[in-house]
Assembly symmetry: C2
Homo-oligomer: 250 residues x 2
């Protein structure tokens, strides 16, 4: 079995660079990796070419980004899922209802995960079916990140498709913006209801939503508590992605 000496070395080099606090020289890196200077030089040059490092003057290299790292304003969905899943698990444990992470995909909401509560009567649906954003609380929560113009466009499109009055949708999103969460008291699925709050990335851009859903009657009984749990969970998920400001609607 073989993969390259270079492949392994570049990962070791990245780990070592991540541990350095200042720019490093070729000689330092070569010594640290116990590899020939010419080999390490090629690796460093490749890292510069690929945007992971930059040259500092004539003699030093500085790491600027790691592979897969959450860059400002750009979250990879796998990373989003890995970083945010603990917050969803915590919200499911606290609320004892089903939790989801949703992202937007065109005019649809797609679900990255579903976490079921440990109880017998629970809301369980197939998350491979995307939903129209305007029809679910996750979608409404995500729409809070749109500009007013983009929101008006989206609402007009939904109205043209017979999915409800544009004005009503705009109002609903504006309410969600002010409150920091969206509620669907009657979901697409008969008898289900849900609460969702937006997840922000490091720059405060809405990249997804955390959603807790369950039987409508049960959610109605505990709505205030569910709302708190969802908002806390979304704040935790946002923090995990690097957002450091207040949650929406705070």
């Amino acid at each position: 079995m073989s993969s390259g000496r270079g492949s392994e070395r570049v990962l070791i080099l990245l780990e070592w660079l991540a541990g350095q606090t200042r720019a490093v020289t070729l000689a330092e890196a070569s010594a640290a990796l116990e590899a020939p200077k010419s080999s390490v030089l090629n690796l460093l040059r490749m890292l510069v070419d690929m945007g992971y490092a930059e040259r500092e003057g004539d003699t030093a290299y500085r790491l600027v980004r790691l592979p897969g790292e959450v860059a400002a304003g750009h979250v990879l969905q796998g990373t989003l899922l890995r970083r945010c899943e603990p917050a969803v698990r915590a919200a499911v444990a606290a609320s004892k209802e089903t939790g989801f992470i949703a992202v937007v995909d065109g005019a649809y909401v797609r679900y990255l995960c579903k976490i079921l509560p440990d109880r017998e009567i629970r809301y369980d649906r197939n998350i491979e079916i995307p939903r129209r954003t305007v029809q679910v609380s996750s979608g409404v929560a995500i729409l809070t990140g749109l500009s007013d113009a983009a929101l008006a466009d989206e609402a007009a499109r939904a109205e043209a498709e017979g999915l409800g009055a544009a004005q009503a949708l705009v109002e609903r999103v504006q309410e969600a913006r002010a409150a920091g969460y969206a509620v669907t008291r009657r979901g697409v699925v008969e008898g289900a209801a849900g609460v969702a709050a937006p997840i922000l990335d490091a720059k405060g851009k809405v990249v997804g939503a955390l959603n807790i859903a369950g039987p409508a009657a049960r959610l109605a009984e505990n709505l205030d508590q569910i709302i708190d749990i969802v908002r806390s969970g979304a704040a935790e998920a946002s923090a995990a992605l690097g957002w450091r400001g207040a949650p929406l609607g705070a």
Copy 2:
């Protein structure tokens, strides 16, 4: 100039894996990278061997960690610096005093960076000189992370070295724990003073301190404001490292 086809590919593979939300097959990865199956198989096997991915059943691979990624309870200092520097910059801008990030190194505090305020009379010192933890506010802030037993040991050691009464040091650290920050009204450097608060990692372990320092008289004039800025900054830095709870002393 050449570094391996494998070296470049493994980074592309990691970026792609970071964007996937579920475990992937060899065939999917091969298609995504537009590379031969046998080549990609070797790369995936190497990632499993190195602990970045794990095999899921017979046919799928899942990313579990990225190179240089902050793992729970273990922050690489370069990553700590890259993640926390923006918080220090913000604190320097707000306070108009000099900011530092400090980490512990044995019985010494070492400084990872110094950020100077944009003003003419400012506190500027050589950060290559480490300081004894017990003698600076950064050190005291970091000592708040010790257990009572470890703190007692450290205090006894400092007393034996003629650096002050053990009891006084223990009390000082306990005050800092309760308050969430430490103040040095008279620093090692004549006429300087400083405020520091601990920086926590994702598991709540103290890994460093954020410190604002300046001329003693000027800090005395604005102490309450500086304290708020330092605590906010340390909370922001901690959040950047994945800590999601309340700051110390909240």
